[in-house]
Symmetry: C2
Subunit: 259 residues, 2 copies
Amino acid sequence: MKRLFIVGVGPGGHEHRTPAADQALDAASELVGYGLYLELLGTRIAGKQCHRLPLGDEIARARVALGRAGSGRSVALVSSGDPGIYAMATLVFELMDREPRPEWADVEVEVIPGVSALQATAALVGAPIAHDFCTISLSDLLTPWETIEARVRGAGIGDFVVAFFNPVSRRRTWQLERARDVLLEYRPNTTAVILGRNVSRPQQKVEVIELGQLTNDRVDMLTLVIVGNRETRRVGRWVYTPRGYARRLEQGAGEGLAS
Amino acid sequence: MKRLFIVGVGPGGHEHRTPAADQALDAASELVGYGLYLELLGTRIAGKQCHRLPLGDEIARARVALGRAGSGRSVALVSSGDPGIYAMATLVFELMDREPRPEWADVEVEVIPGVSALQATAALVGAPIAHDFCTISLSDLLTPWETIEARVRGAGIGDFVVAFFNPVSRRRTWQLERARDVLLEYRPNTTAVILGRNVSRPQQKVEVIELGQLTNDRVDMLTLVIVGNRETRRVGRWVYTPRGYARRLEQGAGEGLAS
């Protein structure tokens, strides 16, 4: 059976991995993934053939997974978080599109969504992405910086809550602070910023700071950065972005919030 | 024990409901939610006291949940999808912030993330939200239309993939087409658009059309609309938004995609 499951196993802890992901892992005879993500699966994958590939080599992982499925195996390509958000799924479809091979044509592909690190981080601090939000990768390896900066500006103009992925790297040292400065043209210094690192994993660390305090040295490659919008508020240890409820309360609470 | 779990039970099918959500449901003695969402939980919630409140009345649900927890119960406030994305969590924190009551102060609150309808819809068609994306609610009950249109324009300028929530209602009849026209200033007529209705539920329906074909009558209150960006492509029955892999392939595939 030529099957390829592209499986999101969630942010780390098995308590966030769905039954659909487990079913796909069980149905696969072979697994392809970054070593650490496979370790996180523990005994679930005992006895399966594992193709462990290095972290940077996503294209190779997608190619191996398609190749094994194309040769008649049931394969699970393992992605952390949600495989459709800055992750493995798109690489599989891009290979199918740009380098089609006859043996891939009848592979049955299924994408299994998962809880992303963004959602797990947001949940730990409250409800920061509860209204219109956007995600922006600051990696300028594959996207010109001008395009990225235009996105940050679009997010500023639109007052979106912004989640920055890939905020820094060894060579990416000024982009996050530049993005901060663009956002500061549109929202105050005191805007709440959430820094989530290794969320749902053993070294989990989450802190809430202000946008004016967001410097490169507070963040590393594994940090997800969520910047509130102009309405984002704090209550006790929580951060939330309202849907407009205060105005609604004044209008009469009985009407509810649904559209 | 004063506990309030704000639980995301996923888009519908139990296969997308996490063990963390199940644990919270099991730990609660009382449940608060919209009737249909509670039905979807089946035997999981047998024997629990259920407070079923109507769909429109989100504020009342948050208030009942906080009230029951404040009076010493272990309560699960049930949200479909992810409770932090256009859902219940933010209302709880807003009540705590704007109408604080002494009996709420020591309620232990925990937010349990879940797979959102956006993720489930995206997974069914491939990887449309694989690069920078944003979410925009077209409900202008709580947000002035000018603000919403500025967001749509920001999304156009930034070339974000856009997910529209609450695209239409009985009284919301022109906003989706206006948003489409704004996006058409920045991306072509042929841009892929995904319409997902009741995804992961019995009446599930998903179709892929072009932006130029997006009219009000193709969509209802339960439809999630995902509009691709300028790079979004189709391959067979799939839709995906590349991360820039083609360019990278030319540069040398061995470098991989990670930042």
